[in-house]
Structure formats: C-alpha cells, structure tokens
Symmetry: C2
Subunit: 408 residues, 2 copies
C-alpha cells in the first residue's frame, strides 16, 4: 500500500472549472510522487451562502429546522466532489467521489454542529488500493439513523483531519486562499510575517482565538494521532505553515502571534445570590445545546452575591440568549447584560506562562493606547484580553510591535 496523503481544498480553491483543474494539477502531482491521495473539498465558492439565503427566505432562522438545514447545506459539497472527480477522470485518472455518508463518517445527531464519532474506512481503503483518487465531501457526515449531518463552520478541515487520522496518512494538507498562519492578520499589520512551524498547542490557541485559518478540532484530532498538518494556499507554490508536535522555539521568541476575534458576545449574569451548583446549571444547559463558552469569570463581588461573565460566539447568540435568560431567572439573578461590541485580543506562544513579564508588557501596551481591559484570561500558551471592538485594530498593531513580531 502506498503512503496516504490527505489534501483539503476550500471553497475558493474549487470555485470554477478552471480552479478545479488547478486542484487536479496538485492532486496528479501527488499521485505521481507515489501517494494514494484522498481529496476533501468544500462547496464551490458562494454555494453555501446561496443555499443559506434560499433557506432564509423560507425560515428567518433556518437552523430552527436543523435536520433539514443540514440536509440542504450538505448538498454544496455533493456537487463539488462529483465535479472534481469528473475533472480527474477527464484527465485520465481514476477517481471516485464519496459523500460523508459513503465515506463512513459517522457522527452524533447534533445537527448543524455534529461531532465525528467514528470513520469506517473500509470502502476508502478498497478504492485507494485499486489506485483510485478519493474525492470526499467535507463538512458532512451521517448519524446512526442514516440522516445527513454537518459539522459546522470550518467543518471540511475537520473532515480532512479525521480522514487523515483514520487512514493513518503521512500528513494532512489544507489548502485555501490563505497561505498559512501569520504573526498577526496582515490586513491590520502589514509587516506581519508568516510562521513556518507551530506546535499543536500553539496552533490550537491560534485557531481558537480567531486566526480563522483552520478549525481547532482539525488540529486537536491531528494532535491526538500525531498527524502533521500543512497549511498553504492552493494558488501559490511556496510552503505555508507546518503544524507538528515538536517545534524548536528560541527562548526569546516565545510569543508567536497576536490574534483577534470580534465574533463574540460578552454575557454578564449580575447579582446572583450565592448557591452551590448555580454556575453548573447555567453552563450545563449551554453545553447541552452545544454552545461553547469562553472566558468564564466569576466574581464574588459582595457578600454572597456573584457576577458571572463569559463570552459566546455571535453565531450561537440567538440560541444562547433564551437559555441564559431562563437560567438567570431561575437562579434569581438581578439582571443579564449583553455586550456585542467586544473584541478579544490575544498573544499566543508556547510556554507563555513561564514569562510573567509578558502579561505586564501586554497590559501596559494596551494602557498606553488608553484601551480599557474588560476581561482577562490565560493559559499555558496564550493570554487574552477582552476590549471594546473599536479598539481592536489599534490593540493588535500595538501588541505586534511591542513584542517585535515582524522580526520573528
């Protein structure tokens, strides 16, 4: 059996017949290099948006009909895989398209954000052994009842990583219109530079914190199975960013990048009488609806009175609000405060926690620009501050400069 290579191409990379031929160039190159190739594709260009608009003209919140929403949204990839397989066939290569269901991607039944439970690789391995290029639909799976599910935004990267893990691929290459991770978003920081290599932990934080390059779960899966991920642009020849287990970092280069997310809402449940298990109830209900919370802070502000503050993604906001409101009423909170005008700026780097001066530098850099810090959270590899959305760009630029990242 040849070594298996998984390549994932995003929507822009497959947006036209011409671009599908570009993708085929890369695939055929990998075949000629001796790999058994599994290609994972997203839907073409604007297809997903067009399908969403159709759905929205029927239901103001299409996700309220979750099962049908997933059935609909999964069709975009079903089109692109057949087209790419045809392109490869037209160029004399044996290729075969697989929907998520056909590829054996078993998920739970949490429509719109399903999790992959298992991948049954028997058919895939058979076709690879027969010398066929597999073209698999990203973003989708099938639940135990045989219904179509989708994995949520960025789900095609998860598919690619999951297939690479299940097939024990030599690596997973993720191609889109960005050519890798940068020290900061180049649109805001023109002298930001590309990072050649990241550890899984660093990449995980960067994706979580808004680098928007790939999906955290794709990195998480790859970490568990120790599969290298290569991030690159399908339009360029240069190497992008490699994500792998061990990345040598010089001591003085512990800050790898500055990121910013503006797609979150800050929720404060204020003046909650102290009672055991109260936070658990609130976050339990959110978890059941598969809504991720971040930056959780609980202040015992006065005797026996708590303030609980956290952030959720704006995409989950409409679903989260009634859950939070009803939990707040149940726990007799005085009020709930929602703040949509926030940004979370973060600095990321392995072993950041070992350098306490970094935190001081970050806070003072923000202070020098009169930027007010609303929340702080930290981990082994990152330090995040929630600030006003209007200050986001200034903050990112200031932090990129103070940590001298353009000389990484």
């Amino acid at each position: 059996m040849k070594p298996i290579l998984v390549q994932k191409y995003g929507g822009t990379s497959v947006a036209s017949i011409e671009r599908l031929h570009n993708v085929a160039d890369r695939v055929i190159k990998a075949v000629k290099e001796g790999y058994a190739v599994v290609v994972v594709t997203s839907a073409q260009g604007d297809t997903t948006d067009e399908l969403f608009e159709k759905a929205r003209s029927i239901l103001p919140d299409p996700k309220s009909a979750k099962r049908e929403y997933d059935a609909l949204m999964a069709t975009g990839e079903k089109i692109s895989i057949a087209l790419l397989a045809m392109v490869l066939i037209s160029r004399g290569h044996d290729a075969i398209s697989y929907t998520g269901s056909q590829a054996g991607i078993l998920t739970d039944s949490k429509y719109t954000k399903a999790r992959i439970l298992d991948v049954d690789t028997r058919k895939l391995r058979y076709d690879l052994a027969e010398g066929r290029v597999i073209v698999a639909a990203g973003f989708q799976g099938v639940d135990r009842d045989g219904w179509t599910t989708t994995l949520g935004r960025g789900g095609s990267d998860i598919t690619a990583s999951a297939l690479a893990c299940a097939l024990d691929a030599v690596r997973c290459e993720i191609f889109s219109d960005v050519d890798g991770f940068y020290t900061a978003d180049p649109r805001w920081v023109p002298d930001a530079i590309k990072l050649d290599a990241l550890s899984y932990d660093e990449a995980l934080e960067l994706t979580h914190l808004g680098a928007g390059i790939t999906h955290p779960r794709a990195v998480e899966l790859a970490r568990q199975h120790n599969i290298e991920i290569h991030i690159g642009s399908s339009f360029k020849e240069q190497a992008g960013t490699v994500i792998k287990s061990e990345v040598p970092v010089e001591a003085e280069r512990h800050i790898r990048g500055v990121t910013c997310r503006t797609d979150e809402v800050k929720i404060s449940v204020l003046e909650v009488p102290d009672q055991p298990g109260i936070a658990a109830k609130l976050f339990g209900s959110l978890a059941q609806a598969r809504i991720s919370v971040d930056m959780v802070i609980q202040n015992m502000s006065r005797r026996g009175i708590n303030d609980i503050t956290f952030t959720v993604s704006k995409a989950d906001y409409s679903e989260a609000k009634p859950i939070v409101d009803s939990a707040a009423a149940e726990m007799k909170a005085k009020t709930v405060d929602y703040d949509e005008d926030i940004a979370k700026v973060s600095i990321v780097g392995g072993g950041i926690a070992d350098f306490p001066e970094v935190a001081a530098q970050m806070f003072s850099a923000l202070g020098e620009h009169s930027i007010n810090i609303k929340m702080i959270s930290s981990s082994e590899v990152k330090l995040s501050c929630v600030i006003a959305e209007a200050d986001a760009k200034t903050a990112v630029q200031a932090l990129h400069q103070v940590f001298n990242l353009s000389n990484s």
Copy 2:
C-alpha cells in the same frame, strides 16, 4: 394508519419559494383531508440543466463518467426536498426530507438509467405513522454498494409510482405543468381535447409514443400493483387524467389520441448475409447497454440477404452508434444507414387491432397529404408510422381530424 397518498411535483412546480408554498397548500389540504402524504419532488426549475452544463464544461459527454454523473445530477433533488420540508415546517407541519438512499430505493448499478429493484419502506412507514409529511427525492436511488444512481429522464414519476406501489397508496398524483393527456399535442392541434380517463394499456402506449406526460415505467409499475395515477397541473384546480384498470370506452371511440415522437433515429443495417442468431447479437449488445430499440423490422430482401431496421432514442444515439457499427462489421453487413430526420406518428386506443379499417384510414389520410410512410408497426392498442420529420405536424393534424377526435 391513515390512507397513504403519494403526490409528485415536477421541476416547474417547485421552481421558486413561492411555488413551493403553492405545493405546500396542496399537501396541507391532503393532510387535512386525512391522508398520510408522501411528496416526491424533482429538482427546481433549471437546476438539472445547470448541473448538466457544469458537467459538460468538464467532459464533452458527461455520461462517460456515469457514476459521477449520477452523483452530480442527484444533488438537484436533494436541494428541493430540504427546501420543501422547510416550507412545510415553516407552516407548522411536521415534515422530513428523504434522499433516494434514505427512502430505501434500491436500484441496480446501471448509472444514468438505473432500475428500481426494491423499496425498503420501514423508515417511511415509521415517519408516516408519527404524522410526518415525507418529502422524498425523485429520480434517484442507491445501489447495493451504497452509490447514488439516477433513473433517467422522467425518473421522478417512476419514484412516485414505485413509492405508491410499495406503500400501497390509495393513489399516485402526478403534478407538473401539463394538466393531463390530450387527444393530440394542443400546440399542434388547437382543438385537441383532454382525456378524462385512460386504461393502463392506453396510457402506456401514449407515454411510449411521445405524449411526454409521464414515464412509461411509472404507468407500468402502477398497472402491476393496480394503483390509480392522477395526472394534473399543479397550477390548476381542475381534474386532469385518471389512469386506471377499467375505462369504459364506447365502440365508436376506439381511437383515443394521436401522438408524435421526433426524438428517435432510424437505423438500417443493410445487406446482411443470412445467418442464424445475427439479430440476437445486435440487439443483445444494445440491450446490455440498456438501449431500448423500437420498430424493429427485418426484411429478407433478396435471397439470403437481410435488411434490419429499427429506431433508438436520440439520447442513446451516440452510445448506440459504435455498438451498431461494430455489430454490423461483425455480421458482414454492407452498410449502415442512419436517419435522424424522422418522426413517428401513432394513433392509440384500446382494441385498435379489432378494427382493421382504422389502419386503412390512417394510411389513406397520410397518402392524401403526400406523406411517405417509411416504417409501420402495430400493437393491440396502437398503430405507428415513421415518416419524415418535416411532415410530422401535418400528419398529426390530419389524423386528429380524420378520426374526429375533437368530438371525443
């Protein structure tokens, strides 16, 4: 269990959100009348054509990559079912979409023109019992390997009829932009009138002979299971044409309609030395490629020399030609003659064979208009003549008049 009603809506009937609401009106009406409803839909409007054009920009003959062709073409219906289910949900009705695979429509693996082998109705019956409206994708199925197949042009009607049979429905209603069978195509014969009822045999001949209203296999399946088919327009309230086993026909009304097909090619394999089993070989190869032949005539023109003439659909022409050419070479035929400029005009009616004067009337009507007859074939319920395509309209008008069909 409530009585089950199957309704099929064509592409024009589901072409826009507004039209999907019209369809929902009809579905909801049937639900309120006490039916458990299974809706079968085609792809929206021009979707199928658009997908075909995409494929054709990759492969001049997209069907040469049959498996991928089917995977691609089946996506159109996967979109329309999810949208229609959403429309029903938006109007407070529990609805659930089913792809061909999910609906248990098992077919053989003859891509682009698969045949339904079996329908596993367990899931469908469960959801019907739960009070859900089923919205099933027409035109598609799944083979034993789990790959998507399509049933060919008009396949959604076959799906509807097959589901009606498998679920033992009270009837199968087929809605499209035509409101029923007519004594002739009203575009050519303005005083053609709609036929209220047809026997299965008559309807079969009419569909085979080019009425273009529904698919012969839909009628064939319904005949086998004695399921009534109602043909009507989704844009009108009036009744269309009912197809059922016993239709009372007065003796003098044995001609029911005049039809015309211009989508066939006449193929003549000329001067074949006589040898047993020669025709079987030719037609065996065509059958293996699932190419239907019609109007087969074999003439022993001179001692030991045969001419074999038959017609195939233009859609099958490019596939049929190499098969015929190679068979002709093998059987040492002198030449093969292909004639694309033909029309097959037919008169249809139960018991037509019992009235020999009908044939005489037909031939003399054509003769009076100087129309040359190239081939003749007949059955219990039809009489067909192949003529030049240029004469088609004149022939249909003449036959409609001579058999006085506007007073049916």
